[in-house]
């Protein structure tokens, strides 16, 4: 009898461990997406909430579905949205590449440092992450503005005649993204490079590989999983970035995160914002699944 009760207790504990986080995520993560998807088929009206109901229960079954593809058709017609999506992909792509170019040598350097120094260097990489993201982006406003620190320094050195317009340009957006997302590139790369068996470098050198060849033949291919993970961790959030283009980008530098934000808060066209979000999600679903796969495979490979 006692044993029986124990077993029920064990089973309950197991259920609890799985079901509590599971149902929370279902309710507050998955269901909201379904709602976004649903509303993207509604039409906007001036009301509270500002969209038509998708199911009109007064109608009979056939006419009950009131949705329309109007929002999506509008997105296709209006160049503004196309440009926003394409610009976002471009800005996120270039930023990711810049992050990789700067992050790889840094990660490699840390991985090659003596073990005692590695933790300190790693902490220095993570440390800025703990301070406010918003304030770190804001710091660049002071550096890049027309009468900012960088312009003053360049003028003082006589490199330029008059201040450069750096703030409110794409250049500033690239700097902002690279600056905030660099740790996300470095950390997975470091994790990969650190695990790398240093003997395989020795082996390649021993077999006749010169240092650069060894890097090209061995280090780079072996670190591909780290490169993919790091690049996705930069590219995906950069795609939907709102704060950086809003603070550092020009009025004309439309990125989709900002377009969505404006559509929602300024134009109050919630169904259209939902459609914008749905398309953004569709664009990102492939990279996200790729990221999931790298996560899952790293989970399964070291049980």
């Amino acid at each position: 009898m006692a044993i029986h009760q124990h077993r029920i207790g064990d089973l309950l504990w197991r259920r609890f461990v799985i079901l509590l986080p599971y149902s929370w995520l279902l309710l507050f993560f998955l269901v909201p997406f379904a709602i976004v998807f649903k509303i993207s088929f509604s039409d906007p009206i001036v009301a509270q909430p500002p969209f038509t109901a998708l199911f009109d229960h007064s109608q009979n079954l056939l006419n009950r579905f009131q949705g329309s593809l109007n929002n999506y058709l509008f997105l296709l017609e209006d160049n503004l949205y196309w440009i926003s999506y394409l610009r976002s992909i471009r800005v996120a792509g270039i930023s990711t590449l810049l992050c990789l170019l700067l992050g790889y040598p840094v990660a490699y350097y840390i991985a090659q440092s003596p073990p005692t120094r590695r933790n300190l260097l790693l902490m220095l990489i993570i440390l800025p992450f703990w301070t406010s993201f918003l304030l770190r982006v804001y710091a660049w406003m002071g550096i890049l503005s027309t009468n900012g620190i960088l312009n003053s320094a360049l003028l003082w050195m006589g490199l330029i005649e008059e201040p450069l317009q750096m703030l409110y340009t794409d250049f500033a957006v690239y700097i902002g993204i690279v600056y905030t997302y660099l740790p996300f590139m470095i950390l997975p790369l470091y994790a990969n490079l650190e695990r790398l068996d240093l003997e395989i470098h020795d082996a390649a050198a021993d077999l006749g590989g010169k240092p650069l060849q060894v890097f090209w033949d061995i280090t780079l291919p072996v670190s591909v999983p780290g490169i993919i993970a790091g690049s996705l961790l930069v590219f995906i959030p950069a795609m939907g970035e709102f704060v950086i283009p809003a603070l550092l980008g020009g009025l004309d530098s439309l990125m989709i995160g900002r377009t969505l934000y404006d559509e929602f808060f300024v134009n109050r066209d919630w169904p259209l914002a939902s459609a914008v979000a749905t398309i953004l999600l569709l664009i990102l679903i492939l990279p996200m699944m790729l990221f999931q796969r790298t996560q899952v495979s790293s989970t399964e490979s070291n049980p």
């Binding site: 003997e199 021993d206 590989g209 072996v222």
Partner: protein, 378 residues
């Protein structure tokens, strides 16, 4: 001929004919000496083993030969060329790493071909040589596999093939069998020896396992804290260890601490400390009366019996069996002598009869030939 510690520290005459000559090689890491004044001559086609506990400097020595570590001082000459300052990728020396260091992203075939590709050899020739090598190490049909789908023994053979394919003048093997289980280790040992004989490549094996060194190598150097303690054939090192460290490190040995009481030519008589047991032994080294020496005897050289064995050249002592372990073909006894020392004896079980069997607590006599005793003076 046994080389003693004294002789190795003084640089031997550079012999022009030696294939590999290591002269006064040293390596310091931040003030810590890992390799200390090592001199070594190795002939072409030898299978040489460097034996030592972990941290004795043997791996550093090997890495210096491979060019992966820069010596602090000293020279390395291979086949009449001073290669001390050559980078690893230019040396005609290849290495089999302890972890095997197979490139995880390349197939077996690509792993083996890597060294040849770096030599810019024609693809057709590479294919042919890789194929031959796969045959040689019995890995036919494994060419398209990735390292993570190989067993330990297969990985070991890929690593060997990859190092051998460049026809190195010298092949370095860092603990080549350490990662294999016991059965596989024995089999691979013979495969390695056959391969070496077949190809005629000079091998240097680094190992911490004295049995492995003894069965594999034609000559062995015993290393301790960066120095070569003794260099010689396996028999020389086993039967004539030059000092206590080698005697103790190489197999099991009983050592009686004693004081010399009489010297007659090569023959000396000693008295074991804390007892009145006297022993006779031969020494080639100069010994004087009142010197403290160690008398070392291998367990298998001692015979154990309940009756006193007598003879002119026999050393004997009395004791009580404290412990015995039966291994089937032989048994090991631990006998406490009158001086209180535990002596290990191993005896073949030649008969099945249970007569005269030595048991726990039995009073027994231990005896051995006088010339089985090794005199250790340090």
């Amino acid at each position: 001929m046994t080389t003693t510690a004294d002789e190795t520290t003084a640089a031997p005459e550079p012999s022009a004919e030696s294939y590999l000559q290591i002269r006064s090689l040293c390596k310091d890491f931040d003030g810590i000496t890992a390799v200390d004044q090592v001199n070594l001559d190795i002939n072409k086609g030898e299978l040489f083993a460097i034996l030592g506990a972990s941290g004795c400097g043997k791996s550093t020595l090997l890495r210096m030969l491979a060019g992966l570590e820069t010596p602090t001082s000293g020279r390395i000459v291979l086949d009449s060329e001073d290669i001390t300052d050559w980078p690893a990728y230019e040396r005609p020396i290849n290495m089999m790493f302890q972890s095997y260091a197979l490139f995880p992203h390349m197939t077996v075939e690509k792993n083996i071909a890597y060294g040849l590709k770096k030599e810019k050899i024609e693809p057709d020739e590479i294919d042919q040589r890789v194929k031959n090598m796969l045959d040689l190490v019995q890995l036919k049909g494994f060419d398209k596999r990735k390292p993570n789908r190989l067993s330990g023994g297969e990985k070991q053979r890929v690593a060997l093939a990859r190092a051998l394919i460049k026809n190195p003048k010298l092949l370095l093997l860092d603990e080549p069998l350490a990662a294999l289980d016991k059965k596989l280790r024995e089999q691979t040992q013979f495969e390695l020896m056959n391969l070496q004989e077949e190809l005629g490549v000079t091998f240097i094996v680094v190992t911490h396992d004295q049995e492995e060194a003894m069965t594999l190598a034609t000559r062995i150097a015993v290393m301790n804290s960066g120095k070569f303690i003794q260099t010689g054939t396996p028999t020389e090192i086993y039967e004539y260890p030059s000092n206590r460290f080698v005697a103790d490190f190489f197999g099991t040995i009983n050592i009686f601490d004693a004081r010399v009481i009489n010297v007659t030519g090569r023959e000396l008589t000693v008295e074991v400390d804390q007892s009145d047991i006297q022993m006779k032994a031969y020494s080639d080294k100069p010994v004087a009366i009142d010197d403290n020496v160690g008398i070392a005897v291998r367990p298998e050289k001692i015979s154990i019996s309940k009756q006193l064995q007598d003879g002119a050249n026999i050393t004997a002592t009395k004791g009580v069996v404290e412990d015995l372990a039966y291994y089937g073909n032989y048994s090991i006894y631990r006998v406490k002598t009158e001086s209180g020392q535990l002596v290990q004896v191993s005896a073949q079980n030649q008969t099945r009869s249970s007569d005269h069997v030595v048991e726990w607590e039995d009073e027994v006599y231990l005896s051995w030939e006088q010339n089985s005793s090794i005199v250790l003076v340090d």
